[in-house]
């Protein structure tokens, strides 16, 4: 019989406490190497869509704020198209990157993204997913990056029929991945462990 012959994925390791040196060097005062930190500007004046701010903090299992994390987000444009070569449905808004990166601040652990509200995108079986933003979190103490999603609280109907949210067996946990809204600001706190632990994904 032939060998299946696939390679194994390179195993993950923690990003460690000095992740900023590599991913956000200007944030940790290594200036002059890169003009600016990647992923800090997702939109410009021409970007189509409703401007929103997404912000929050990350908490560990003792309720302490995680101040040394890096958060990345990935989302569709306002028409529900991804700015990616694997997007086969059409061309996304070229003035919107769809991807952002932000370190949590050393003082208070807050991360912030200035972005737009994403449109809806399809699920594999033809249903439509509710608007969402994909999150990826790395930090000291996290051996493999954590994936989750943020949903929008005003999208009640869409959320109630979202294929991923419907998969959450313990219904009280759905609330852990729906942001809190105040005007155009959405607060999305992430709890790594314990009571109200955020739903994390194996995707």
């Amino acid at each position: 019989m032939q060998e299946l012959g696939y390679l194994k994925e390179t195993p993950s390791q923690t990003a460690g406490p000095y992740v900023h040196i590599g991913l956000t060097p200007n944030f940790c005062d290594i200036t002059g190497v890169y003009q600016s930190d990647l992923g800090t500007e997702m939109v410009n004046d021409k970007t189509v869509g409703e401007r929103i701010t997404v912000t929050g903090r990350i908490f560990d299992g003792a309720g302490a704020i995680v101040r040394d994390a890096v958060v990345e987000i990935w989302q569709a444009d306002s028409a529900g198209l991804y700015n990616s070569p694997s997007e086969m449905r059409g061309a996304a808004d070229p003035t919107f990157t769809g991807w952002g990166r932000c370190a949590t601040r050393a003082e208070d652990g807050i991360y912030t993204f200035e972005t737009i509200k994403p449109g809806r995108v399809p699920f594999k079986d033809g249903r439509t997913m509710a608007p969402h933003i994909s999150f990826w979190i790395v930090a000291r103490g996290i051996n493999i990056g954590l994936h989750t999603r943020m949903y929008f609280p005003e999208e009640t109907d869409a959320n109630n029929s979202d294929p991923l949210l419907l998969r959450i067996e313990h219904r009280e946990r759905v609330a852990t991945i729906v942001a809190a809204r105040n005007g155009s600001t959405y607060t999305f706190d992430i709890r790594l462990q314990g009571d109200k632990e955020t739903v994390f994904l194996d995707i």
């Binding site: 003792a62 103490g141 995707i203």
Partner: protein
Amino acid sequence: MSDQTNRKPENGAFFARDREWHAPALTPGYKTSVLRSPQRALLSLDGTISEITGPVFGHSMIGEQDNDLIHNFAKPGESAIGERIIVHGRVLDERGRAVPAVLVEFWQANAGGRYRHKKESYLAAIDPNFGGCGRAITDEFGQYSFRTVRPGAYPWPNGVNDWRPAHIHFSIFGHGFAQRLITQMYFEGDPMIWKCPIVGTIPDKRAIEQLIAPLDWGNTIPMDARAYKFDIVLRGRRSTMFENRLEGN
């Protein structure tokens, strides 16, 4: 992707991650993981378009010295102190296919094991000519390379006498957000590797071996720099032949 090959963009879902191969979230020997590991099971989901797509970065973003850590923070005419090395390799997927045009970022301590970071208090000296960050974009064959100095080992407050082996951190994008990976590269023959609680979070010795870069004598440049080869494998993706139900196709 304009400067890539003419092959069709792939949009299949990714092979499921083998989470027995990776470190589990809770690894008490690495103390910080105790309060930073989820206790609930992950919610498993076959990749949707939100995971099979991902950002792409153009070659134009990369500055001339971005992959030369010996010089990209140094004063004009000066260079970082330490053993000069080249680190290079290929980014492949589990099917052995090259992963072209993806961003690889790397960061490390200086030759004495000291990081340029305000939260770092190790007494080894800062090198005024070494910043410690670099990046590259893989070419059409999935190849990347950079020049640097070999980092030193350094102590860290975990056990009373824990030292990290010499290592370089890597951050790799694939073509989908679900391929996103951060890892660490170690050096062939370093006895510190097998004493490290962070290395030890990985349960399978074969998986640890995958993080150890061999000395690449063939690519060593005489009278200049030695070379280490570090290949990176990202998740493979299914071919799309029976996957035509993504709406809009």
